[in-house]
């Protein structure tokens, strides 16, 4: 399954100073820039050629039309497009379903044309899609991204994804990939007591390791020798 779902996510952020990018993204999302970008949800097969053309152009994997149809026919609500002056300049293809004992969303393909990168379009597409997944009852969302794709890693990291696993030589060009996962807060965790796995912990009782085999707090206040930080004379 993974073989055919490989794709490269193209994030909108590629600057080295990742810290700044998010602010720019949110600015363009709310501000003047996004007024020219129109986001639509997939309607019918007349849009399929645009999507295919865009993805074929930007990504290296050869996808057959059936791959597109699989995702888009079964999960049209999870397919989004970004239009600029009537032209499709970005698209997102996803799916969701039961995976072992979780209901999970999966981001399969994400593309934004080169000229429109860095404007937060990819973030906007992904955000909308994740909202749909969340509202549809997904427990988590997952995808794979190449380890060198810093833009994608920043994009998803900013949305709360963690790098859950590393996949050795996942892409046949020899590069590794990360499996990224986003876990939604659980609704029945209203008072945040249950951690899952059948293990519940009373939040008001501090877990006392000293009853078992060591004591964190004791170490905190024991200093072998006290070294005060020297204030440097410049």
């Amino acid at each position: 399954m993974a073989e055919t779902e490989r794709r490269e996510a193209d994030g909108s952020a590629k600057e080295a100073d990742i810290g700044r990018v998010e602010e720019e993204d949110s600015k363009t999302s709310d501000g003047a820039g996004s007024g020219r970008i129109e986001y639509v949800s997939y309607k019918d097969e007349t849009q399929l050629p645009d999507i295919m053309a865009l993805i074929d152009q930007e990504l290296s994997e050869p996808y057959s039309i059936f791959t597109y149809r699989y995702f888009i026919t079964l999960w049209p609500d999870l397919c989004f497009m970004a239009f600029h002056e009537g032209k499709c300049i970005g698209t997102l293809v996803c799916k969701m379903g039961q995976h072992r004992n979780t209901f999970r969303g999966y981001i399969a393909m994400l593309v934004v044309v080169k000229q429109h990168r860095g404007k937060g379009i990819a973030t906007e597409l992904v955000t909308r899609c994740i909202q749909v997944m969340r509202d549809a009852g997904c427990d988590e969302v997952t995808l794979e991204a190449e380890v060198t794709n810093l833009g994608a890693l920043a994009l998803y990291g900013n949305l709360g994804f963690i790098r859950a696993k590393r996949l050795h030589r996942y892409y046949l060009n020899g590069f590794d990939a990360y499996r990224l996962k986003l876990l939604f807060p659980r609704p029945h965790d209203a008072n945040r007591m249950l951690l899952g796995g059948g293990y519940s912990m009373d939040p008001y009782q501090m877990h006392d390791c000293s009853k078992l085999d060591h004591d964190h707090d004791q170490v905190l206040f024991t200093k072998a020798t006290s070294f005060s930080i020297q204030v440097q004379n410049s």
């Binding site: 699989y70 696993k165 030589r169 078992l212």
Partner: protein, 726 residues
């Protein structure tokens, strides 16, 4: 109508094109005509036949079959010496590419000579080299398949009908020796070329026409033959079980390394006269020493033997990379050969962990795994259960009579064997597998605590059984902590954690280290320094069942594995240094953690540590405990910086103790000793540089006029804080 399939008695051919187009026009948007068994999911694997992008057999360029290639003269048997050297080089490059995970068909067997080795018989040099290559590749393939640690690396052991083995390949050495002797004689001959002595009948024919170049080419051929031979010997000797061939293998590794150097030096001679291309870097110059393209290779000839997936063109390793690959492989194999066969289980685990830090490639790891677990026994000698009994220090009487101890030992052997195998896989896969076996270790812990039906007469045995139980439980607890620690620390090496997760990871890791330390010290305090025999166990008197050992055990002075205690203490102090530094920096607004719209830190904490919450030891730790422990609102930011500083300072002290105890640890393998020495230096730097960073931030007031980032420039798991003006 002319058709390949003739019409039958009752059938005729009709042109249905217009019919189909009008039917298509009748379909509405989104309608699809399909067969009964059609499913969209399965359809994804569909390949468009005859589309070269998808259909591997449809590449329009190149020869279609091996026979066609041969008939077109793509692989002449008569080669000039320069051409022959190029062939040898390119074969080596193909082998290196293959071992890096690419298909045999597109690498080693892209060599037309290897596809039919018998055909090369008239050319003695070529024939010997090819036969030995094929035999060597076969051994490597077998070893990797047996070790069974390669799934994730795309190493394809399937041969898909390629001629990977040949009759009489075991005689390849004899052939090699013969041609080597001939060339060696020729070399001696041309070295004495200035002598006016009449040429004797024994003198070999010159390799090529230009007498001025003869010596150079003899050297070039000779070192390649010798390298090939040494490599073959290494493979044969390392294959012997129980490490019987390791010493001989080491000798051949030295030879191979030396010949590799000779091969390297021959590049200058071989590439002389090639048009210098200043634009192209040496790496891109091709996969031969001369820089020329070798004759007799065709990637496409085997295209029908590839897996039914869209075709991918691969690039063969450059000559530089090929040499580097073999050099590293030989060094990694040498380290395996230096493994003392007398090592106990714990030293072996330490060795494997340290060996992995050198990032050995697949074949080396496969060889290690085969050595460690040959025939399912530790180092091919003791069944794991026996090895474990030695480690457990269980009294003979209990082992012989107590079924539950026996059952536990069997189970522990199974789980330990699995652990050893996992430790030989690549680190990405290793971490995932370690996560999965935690369940087994948890179950093992339960099993060690099973209440025994002590119906044995006499309190002596009953006492021993209870004590055994404590020892077994302590052993499982310590091992589990070891696995969890490796699991967490690998996350840094694999770059899984983002900066905002560092604090919680160090916090949890510290907890695991403290648990590990406890069980390790408890074990150390049970064995007296003077006694080494596994049968004598110092009895500490009756212990209450289930209670932990001494809370603050005395530090034994010369116990075995003391260095590992000090190492854990170093790690723990480093963790604490980071916990407080990160907490302080966040509060001080020199480190920004942005809010994420879809979840909170609690979800990420759960994602990271949920797997560990299923264990009883190390005890599960909740997100609330984490927040509680690290908030410390009654302590000021400056005091937090001080606290962090103190912990980094404490690391220095522990490092000295570590150095001293490591020097006394005679049980350490050479690899572990080297690794430890390196790690001490790394931790020193981490401790020092972070203290400097702390001094800087301590002076400055709160706010964002300074930005702090973290770089793993010294130690793979513990970074250095870098302070910059923002």
């Amino acid at each position: 109508m002319d058709a390949a399939v003739p019409a039958g008695d009752q059938t005729i051919w009709l042109d249905a094109s217009s019919f189909l187009s009008s039917v298509c026009n009748e379909l509405s948007v989104g309608e699809l005509v399909h067969g009964e068994n059609f499913r969209l999911f399965e359809a994804m694997s569909a390949l468009e036949i005859m589309d070269p992008k998808m259909d591997a057999g449809m590449a329009t360029t190149g020869f279609k079959t091996f026979e066609e290639a041969i008939e077109s003269g793509a692989a002449p048997i008569e080669l000039t010496i320069p051409q022959l050297v190029d062939v040898f080089d390119h074969i080596l490059a193909c082998e290196a590419t293959w071992q890096n995970g690419h298909a045999l068909a597109q690498t080693v067997f892209s060599c037309l000579y290897l596809l039919n080795v018998d055909r090369t018989a008239p050319n003695a040099l070529l024939h010997a080299f090819c036969k030995t290559t094929r035999a060597s590749c076969s051994m490597i393939r077998t070893a990797i398949a047996l070790a069974d640690i390669h799934e994730e690396e795309d190493f394809i052991t399937m041969a898909y009908g390629l001629p990977v083995e040949g009759e009489g390949d075991s005689r390849c050495l004899a052939l090699l020796n013969t041609v080597e002797e001939v060339v060696a004689r020729q070399l001696r001959g041309c070295k004495g070329g200035l002598s006016t002595k009449k040429k004797s009948l024994e003198d070999a024919e010159p390799l090529q026409d230009d007498p001025a170049l003869e010596e150079g080419y003899c050297h070039a051929i000779l070192c390649r033959l010798r390298f090939r031979k040494a490599l073959y010997h290494i493979l044969t000797y390392m294959d012997k079980p129980q490490g019987r061939g390791l010493e001989m293998a080491r000798k051949h590794i030295l030879v191979a390394l030396s010949e590799l150097q000779n091969i390297r030096s021959s590049s200058a001679f071989l590439s002389f006269g090639q048009a210098p291309d200043s634009v192209v870097e040496s790496k891109e110059r091709g996969s031969t020493a001369s820089g020329r393209v070798a004759i007799g290779f065709d990637e496409c000839v085997n295209r029908r033997l590839l897996a039914p997936t869209p075709p991918r063109s691969i690039s063969i390793l450059s000559w530089e990379d090929t040499l580097a690959y073999f050099e590293k492989l030989l060094q990694d194999l040498d380290r395996i050969c230096s493994l003392p066969m007398t090592l106990g289980l714990e030293e072996i685990l330490q060795f494997v962990m340290d060996y992995q830090k050198l990032k050995p490639d697949l074949f080396a790891r496969a060889r290690l795994q085969l050595l460690l677990l040959h025939d399912g026994k530790l180092l091919g000698r003791d069944p794991l259960a026996i090895a474990l009994v030695k480690v457990f220090n269980v009294p003979q009487s209990v082992m012989a009579n107590d079924h539950q101890t026996q059952a536990f030992t069997t189970q522990a052997a199974r789980v330990t064997k699995q652990l050893l195998k996992i430790m030989c896989t690549n680190t990405a896969w290793q971490r995932r597998k370690l996560g999965r076996i935690l369940q087994d270790w948890g179950n093992l812990l339960q099993q060690s605590k099973v209440t025994r039906d002590v119906s044995i007469e006499g309190s002596q045995l009953g006492d021993e059984v209870i004590q055994t139980e404590n020892m077994l439980t302590a052993w499982v607890a310590e091992q589990t902590c070891w696995v969890v620690r490796q699991f967490l620390m690998l996350g840094f090496q694999l770059d899984l954690y983002s900066l905002s997760e560092f604090c919680m990871v160090y916090w949890y890791l510290d907890h695991v280290l403290l648990s590990a330390l406890h069980y390790k010290l408890a074990k150390e305090s049970q064995t007296t320094p003077a006694i080494d025999s596994p049968d004598s166990v110092k009895k500490k008197g009756k212990k209450k069942k289930g209670s932990a050992a001494l809370k603050q055990p005395k530090t034994p002075k010369d116990g075995k594995f003391m260095y590992s205690v000090h190492l854990l203490q170093c790690y723990s102090d480093l963790c604490k240094g980071f916990i407080w530094m990160l907490t302080a920096l966040t509060r001080d607004r020199k480190l920004l953690h942005r809010e994420t719209i879809f979840n909170t830190e609690q979800e990420r904490f759960f994602q990271r540590f949920d797997l560990l919450h299923k264990l009883m030891i190390p005890a599960p730790m909740s997100y609330f405990h984490y927040k509680d422990s690290t908030s410390q609102m009654h302590i000021s930011v400056k005091e937090l910086y001080q606290l962090s500083y103190d912990h980094f300072m404490a690391v220095q002290q522990h490092l000295q103790e570590l150095g001293a105890s490591a020097a006394k640890a005679s049980e350490l393998s050479a690899v572990s000793r080297t690794q430890l020495a390196l790690e001490v230096k790394q931790m020193e730097q981490v401790s020092l540089r972070n203290r400097v960073a702390l001094q800087i931030v301590h002076q400055v007031g709160p706010g964002d006029n300074l930005r702090v980032s973290f770089e793993f420039s010294q130690h793979p798991c513990f970074p250095v804080a870098v302070v910059k003006k923002s």
